[in-house]
Assembly symmetry: D2
């Protein structure tokens, strides 16, 4: 941490600032110039209450030097972390892991059929919504617990691990018992109460979606919440951010994939379906995500998009998914990844 | 709802679209022109699955005509709704209701002292955080349940109703038992699970903060979630939105106050402290909010800002609060409001 | 400027960084710790090429300490700057200067009638567009030079100075000759070629609108461009920024008024008409702007809004303007300003 | 265009709305229901002043059905437009056209060396800034006219057409005389005066960068400005948009490439250098852009990035550019494009 003092600070104010920093357990380096006086924290500045130091009378400004996240930080964990989806397939390794399935689970026939189709095309896991976060209380809210039962049947039938979204802390035990990867939706990325308890009370990997308007640092801090609780199995998911553009549902931020891979050791997957909201964009954006260096994809596949109970507009068919997997395989060959 | 058909649609596609609309329980008006064919829904189009209609082969686009919220909609409730804070003081009436208190409850001495000071200056209720949503898991998270106890003591000592934030559904019974107004923070504005249960399992007024990047319609849909559950006592709170500007913590959107008052019958209060993040801006922005037509304010007041455990930079002192109340009183005289 | 070296920097890299800073004409303070080494620039760091220093091998990051604007900076000009609109009325003084008029000049009858009406209600200057920046090349582009002639006639008839927008450098001599205040529109805020030449080749005050997505610092840097050229008469105009909200045309950022008044000595006016895009919001937002501390307002007034050639939706009538001026007068009494 | 009347409209208001629409030269279809009355414009609604119709007393809202751009619209020009860079190489054809060069021209040695290097690696054209748009008036503004001379020498030496940015209308004749492709920077995307004159007074292709916060529709409307003037040779350039993320300079919006290719027939190139602001991201984002379907790239290449006078942080070396071209060639084989 670096503290710049006001030009007209007093000696007493300087000492007060130094004491406040030392109280945080650091050694303070003082550079006193004719115009500028700089105080540098020597050592881990995390113990310093920056807000308080910034409020001291002689202080002009406080500048943080290090990232606020530790467990998610590549600086302290140089090697990539790879996470097992539950069937031995790793996210974060050499294989591009593709998770596929419908926006919401609708019936046994539907989910099993889609699971078999995506399994056949090479999917690594099955996604499907049982509890749906909908903007309107009057929209279909998902089959809820019954949906989880149907997902289990689909896993039964295909061996694919299941990835589904959790909506609140009261479902943690249920999810811990029957889900393979627990998804935290974009709107819950800063539901700190949920993050804390997922860190403490689950052993399952958490697929943490980036909030619609959150920065990469905030996203990694949410991962830190989960990891600080003890569960270090966090898979980050870029799913598009809110911008002024309305043609697409959101704007897929592929540079965030590169940024996160550099700042953190955690694996990153990309969700082109929610990002674009248009089925015809999914193939191209999936290829772009792979070329950018994503560790995996999460794609919406529905047996009958026009009649989907939710997000049909962004769902591709099993046939289109098969074509996508073929093209990802060919692209993978150029960038050193298998599918 | 209005549906525009593709120029080259077939008669069969037209009939398919009409059937899909009629299935939603509306009468369909057909305007067939040489180039454009328009289908208009006669009656309540809420029953129509717009996503599905939009996916039909002959459909160019679907346009919604009515707002998706009902209970929060002024169209169906022309009169202003005024909500009792618990001590007979109404938010949404002629009085400008000012809620004041520290960002977080720190000790009995602190919260009682601040409560007495703001009571003396004319505050309508006491705010104070017991459970704090912090970006970092390593920051002070609030005194939690003990904080609620201290708030009760402050209420005891002053008669001021207490307004405090809830972080998850597991605390609903506790809050229902001891809190007067339950605050939902900006980051939980679309925590739909929490909204649903607050609607069903509480009778206390809900102070619903606008999400950092949410539109007015999304905000009203979140109010709708609570109201649809049965609890219609929702107080909206504008607390600044995220913009590219970094000088202020967020950007206070005062035109949203006017917009919401026109679109909805619910009362609206403004939080200048979180919006600006700078204590020296609070007085001016409070006056501006009152001039814009806010029904109340929620202001951070701390007995010793430089030593606050949280958000000291945006807290004003009891003395400054007294001055603010005096100025609000004078301004109120120009705009027909009392404080 | 503060430079943080990489933990594993070499002595040679340290010396290279110091040399690069000294080349910018500053003395360098070195704080060498076990883990962190900080280089502090003693003196004016403007001469240092920060981009280059940041690219040096041993450098972790470079942090700027001072604002990049000088002439617009209050630090070097503590007193408020007040600018004469051309008729002796100052913007930036005790009087709240209200500039009013139609979005675009349409005819002699229209502009003269509106000018007389707003003059009668106490306007300080007349605004009116001759050259219109329109999103579509097929929309009405303004009466252009003929519009300037009509504005001159309105000035003739009322004595009100005229404020109108310039679209390119080729019009500078023409505007210098016949306009009292030259407006630079939001979309041209970073038209650096125009800013430079306005600084060098005009003596008239420049009303500089904030860009739709620009930060306060970028806005002040655009003012700096004009001032660096020699014309220090810059009036800043907050006219709403682009946000995700679509109910209003833009989002009026009143906290920016406070911020700019603190960071700069230049006067600031607010344009509620373009910010909101809704005539019914203008009165309330004008009062809010005055309460926030704006030095003036620029309001669209049209004799017949429903038939305006441009922006009728946000124009108020002369009658409504009269009412607004009365209310501003009453509010002014509370905040120590006259109208 | 579709007009929805207020529920309680009068017959006279209906007729007034119909007349206002007919005045725009369309036939009006009336769908009168018990609750909703819809007026549909039959034919080209461009002649209707939507603002005025929206202000009529009986009108609830006006909804546009067709895009406001014509010449840039794929609906009226189904085939892709390919534009010759000046040396027979087309942008918008099967070849992925890569434009490369330094941010700014610094010296003859520098620009000629870079030109020869990128030519050798397969670049289609040379980019280089002579007039630089800088946020600060105190930053290097480019070599200006001398820079153009040096670019001509580099063209001389390599045969590569030159792409450089124009800052104002006064330079149009100069650019028309010596530049091959005229670039309009992001900050000038809505400098309508410049767009108009580029449309009327140049025959050279215009590389139109997307504004930092502009929508795709606004971007296409700016292209329409140029095309409406007579110059239909517009190359669109996605260069990243402003978002809340600060780790990257801007956020590259690759879904915009797909969107624009569908909405318009114009070619689209991507600038990963300005979008990311980090040299190490350029290769990956270039591959992603190609995978997404871009018609070309514009990449910053500098012989000595650490000593570049501008944007060294985002410039790659000629060696890195060679590697990038090889990888693009390999990727091209998967997606049916040559480099």
């Amino acid at each position: 941490m670096v503290v710049i003092l006001k030009r007209e600070h007093t000696q007493q104010q300087l000492e007060q600032a130094v004491r406040a920093m030392e109280a945080g357990g650091v050694k303070v380096m003082i550079s006193k110039g004719a115009e500028t006086t700089i105080l540098g924290a020597e050592g881990n500045a995390e113990g310093i209450d920056q807000e308080k130091v910034a409020l001291l009378p002689g202080v002009e400004r406080v500048m943080r030097v290090t990232e606020p996240y530790k467990k998610a930080n590549r600086k302290y964990h140089p090697d990539d972390t790879a996470i097992d989806l539950g069937n031995g397939i790793l996210v974060g390794g050499q294989r591009l892991a593709v998770i596929a399935g419908p926006c919401s689970v609708e019936s046994e026939a539907q989910i099993v059929a889609v699971a078999q189709a995506v399994k056949g095309a090479g999917a690594a896991a099955l996604r499907g919504g049982a509890f749906k976060p909908r903007t309107s209380p009057y929209s279909f809210q998902g089959l809820e617990c019954q949906g989880l039962e149907l997902l289990k049947e689909a896993r039964e039938a295909t061996g694919l691990p299941i990835v589904t979204e959790i909506m609140g802390t009261e479902y943690i035990d249920l999810f811990e018992a029957c889900v393979d990867v627990i998804q935290v939706g974009a709107r819950n990325m800063q539901n700190f109460d949920l993050l804390k308890k997922l860190g403490r009370h689950t052993t399952k990997p958490i697929l943490l979606k980036r909030g619609l308007s959150n920065t990469i640092e905030e996203w990694l801090m949410s991962a830190e919440y989960i990891m600080a609780g003890g569960n270090e199995k966090v898979i980050l998911c870029e799913r598009g951010i809110r911008t002024f553009e309305t043609y697409t549902r959101n704007t897929l931020d592929l540079s965030a994939v590169l940024a996160v891979k550099r700042l953190s050791h955690l694996p990153v997957v990309v969700d082109p379906s929610h990002a674009c909201g248009k089925a015809w964009m999914v193939e191209r954006m999936s290829l772009a995500a792979a070329a950018a260096g994503a560790d995996g994809l999460i794609v919406e596949v529905h047996n009958d998009p026009p009649h989907a109970l939710c997000d049909g507009a962004q769902s591709i068919t099993p046939e289109q998914f098969g074509t996508l997997m073929d093209k990802l395989g060919a692209l993978g060959a150029c960038i050193g990844r298998t599918v």
